[in-house]
Symmetry: C2
Subunit: 451 residues, 2 copies
């Protein structure tokens, strides 16, 4: 173990490698026993720290809850994480076996290294270190599930059923990213999402385009015409009322984001596009973090094979999602979208609209007492100014914590942009792992003092 | 054999059932030996008539050529047909085995009954009847191939190689339809076709629509915007210059077609649409037979499965075909389309255009000497006024005959609208079969006199 001469750090690394060696792939039921083994390993770890830990069976994979003895005079912090991991395909692209974790140049490579085993274990080991010095300054609850990578299908019901036991003042999660190496990052906003699928139907079956072309509307053409009405040519969403409830960007946000080490050209190189495109009047970062969108996620209809087949398709479909920002309601946006689609439907086809999943956007005030505490913890841990960011994606469990437990969530991510979560050669720098161990102690200390 | 008490007709029916019993499916190489058997059966039939018949091997299925001894004082007529048939799937939808032909209510049911064995055999048996009475009034060449249902891949080269031997004044084909039972139908025009596939590319890989939505152009959205520029809202093609070379409909055509027993409501019931749609100022029939179109035959990009996946697709494609009418050049239309697509390309994506197959439209003057001869033959055979029609589809071999042999083609179809060519329960009424035998003799007689 050449990575540290400190025996405590050596032991922490060994525990990380053990935790990473469980192939806890939640998406594949064939791995179910490995998830149970992994959950039991956590249970044992919490037992060894003297926390009251329980393994809760669900219809899927178990949930672990561990807690310090409650003291009514202390604030309560719930730290959420997950021990399940993404599948490993394509295996051929890994430089080493995904569940045989090993360390190269102070970076550990394994499936789950960054998402989320490395980050949640740092919190557990932070508590272990703190407990050696004395009792924690807060009541602490660990909630660690095994189904995050498959959409947390049983977590909402579990929160409802155990609402009293899980009551907390605030939630902390380390499952997001740092904007750049060495830049501590506090994520204070997430976009919401609303999905719908549309289907246009014309003729009863695919028709010969020679025999019938010219007499009937073509559903693929009609779909194109309909989707083309969703945006203005400049990329602005053209649905009436779409922007009505959008919270404008604050001046301090625009100033802070402009100073971040994430430039428009970075989006070009990250995505491989020839040029950026989007709503005028906003930077690329502002568009992703604070502006709503309408995206076509999939489109299809008619002949899909090689060469050509001269048909008029019977039907064509599109899968749409809207990314939403604070104060936009998913239900209202879906209703506005449906009205827009019905109003702009070309003649000769019929429209079916199927609403899909949706989730609200989320924002926590970074200048609230807990927001500031989280930022102090990050700054003390990394010795650098904290980046205040939002993310363009959605984390539905954050809304669950708000709705069911009534608690805000602090997102203190430790993943670097090249940690390859969900991809081959997932990795986590040991420096970030040890930073996470320190961050946990700083965070609990800072949150203890806020009321 | 209760269908006829006439021994000649009994024998003709028996020969039809024999011809139909060969499973001569050209698309499936497993049936190759059956195609050879079927071709040899034809060879034997022509031998028995005293015609000089040869079986020509190709890289695919054989071509049969049979001819009367050439006399320089007679005109030459080439009758084209094919002995190959479409596959039979879905077999479960057939009421009886497709290669066990049988007769119900004076209609023969079998794969190939109408397309094209019933029709080409009628011509052969017509010649047999005529030869009993004396020499034919024309030099006759039968050209019968085994690859029509797979696009005649070897016929063009065969025509080139045997141009001198196949020299003819006119070509006749019975492989099109009658507009209604009892209505003799002369098809004097076909639409051409020009195909192209377009592909729009944005990001290098599918992107997370939360993390990147708003910064980059979405190729599926861009494709919709681009395809939406192909037409005016009323269905007119919006490509500049698209209609420049279109021959206008003649007054006599509009009058004649308006009188045909094929009404707009028939297109509604045939296609299952809620309403017809197309270029204003023309009837449904006029739009299909005499107006060019731009159709999206297939469209695709991004997520195609159940539910939703929040991606910005890396690419999206569309397969387009243009149906063309006389004097439109496929090459020119493809060039105009490409220029239109490049000009209207939305920002942030790159366009690739892949031209596909193309074929010219075809028209023969129905008031030419041969056109009038064909109509007299039809009228004398059926004892009814001939319908003058065009078809919306394309028959590329007709253009081959024009380009390589320099001969016009007369299309004298015997199929009824419910003969189910290419579909389960394909059938051909014996009345049409016997009419075809008479038609052949009328046709050769009428064509003999025209110069």
């Amino acid at each position: 173990m050449p990575h540290s001469t400190d025996p405590t750090q050596q032991s922490q690394i060994e525990q990380l490698l053990q935790f990473l060696s469980f192939p806890s792939i939640s998406a594949d039921r064939a791995y179910a026993d490995h998830l149970i083994e992994c959950a039991e390993w956590l249970l044992q770890k919490f037992d060894s720290l003297g926390l009251a830990a329980t393994l809760h069976k669900t219809a899927g994979h178990p949930i672990i809850v561990a807690r310090t003895p409650p003291r009514p005079d202390l604030r309560t912090v719930l730290i959420y994480g997950h021990y399940d991991v993404q599948p490993v395909d394509p295996l051929a692209l890994w430089d080493s076996a995904p569940f045989d974790p090993h360390i190269v140049d102070e970076v550990v490579f394994a499936r789950g290294a960054t998402d989320n085993k490395g980050q949640i274990l740092a919190h557990i080991l932070g508590v272990e270190e703190a407990l050696k010095k004395g009792p924690l300054p807060v009541n602490l609850i660990f909630l660690i599930e095994g189904e995050e990578e498959i959409g947390s299908p049983h977590l909402g019901a579990f929160l409802e059923e155990n609402k009293a036991e899980l009551a907390t003042d605030v939630v902390a999660i380390s499952d997001t990213g740092m904007i750049a190496p060495g830049v501590p990052t506090f994520t204070y906003g997430l976009r919401g999402v609303a999905a719908l699928e549309i289907e246009l139907t014309g003729p009863a079956v695919d028709l010969h385009s020679g025999i019938y072309g010219g007499t009937v509307a073509n559903p693929a053409t009609a779909l194109a015409r309909l989707l083309a009405t969703l945006h203005q040519p400049d990329g602005t969403v053209a649905i009436e009322g779409f922007y009505d409830d959008v919270d404008p960007l604050q001046d301090w946000e625009r100033t802070a984001w402009a100073a971040l080490p994430l430039k428009p050209e970075d989006f070009v190189s990250l995505t491989g596009v020839t040029e950026l495109f989007g709503e005028p009047g906003y930077t690329a970062l502002e568009r992703v973090w604070a502006r709503p969108t309408a995206e076509v996620n999939g489109i299809g209809g008619g002949y899909q094979g090689e060469g050509s087949k001269t048909v008029i398709p019977s039907r064509a479909f599109a899968k749409l999602t809207f990314r939403l920002v604070p104060r936009q309601s998913p239900e209202k946006i879906l209703a506005l979208a449906q009205a827009h689609l019905e109003k702009n439907l070309p003649p000769g086809v019929t429209l079916a609209v199927h609403p899909g999943h949706s989730g609200s956007s989320y924002v926590v005030d970074p200048h609230s007492a807990d927001g500031l505490a989280a930022q102090r913890a990050l700054e003390n841990t990394f010795g650098a100014t904290v980046a205040l960011v939002r993310e363009g994606g959605s984390i539905p469990i954050v809304q669950n914590f708000k709705d069911i437990l009534g608690a805000d969530t602090l997102l203190l991510g430790l993943a670097l942009p090249d940690c390859r979560a969900h991809s081959p050669n997932e990795n986590f720098p040991l420096a970030n792992f040890f930073a996470g161990i320190r961050l946990n102690q700083e965070l609990l200390r800072q949150l203890a003092g806020t009321t």
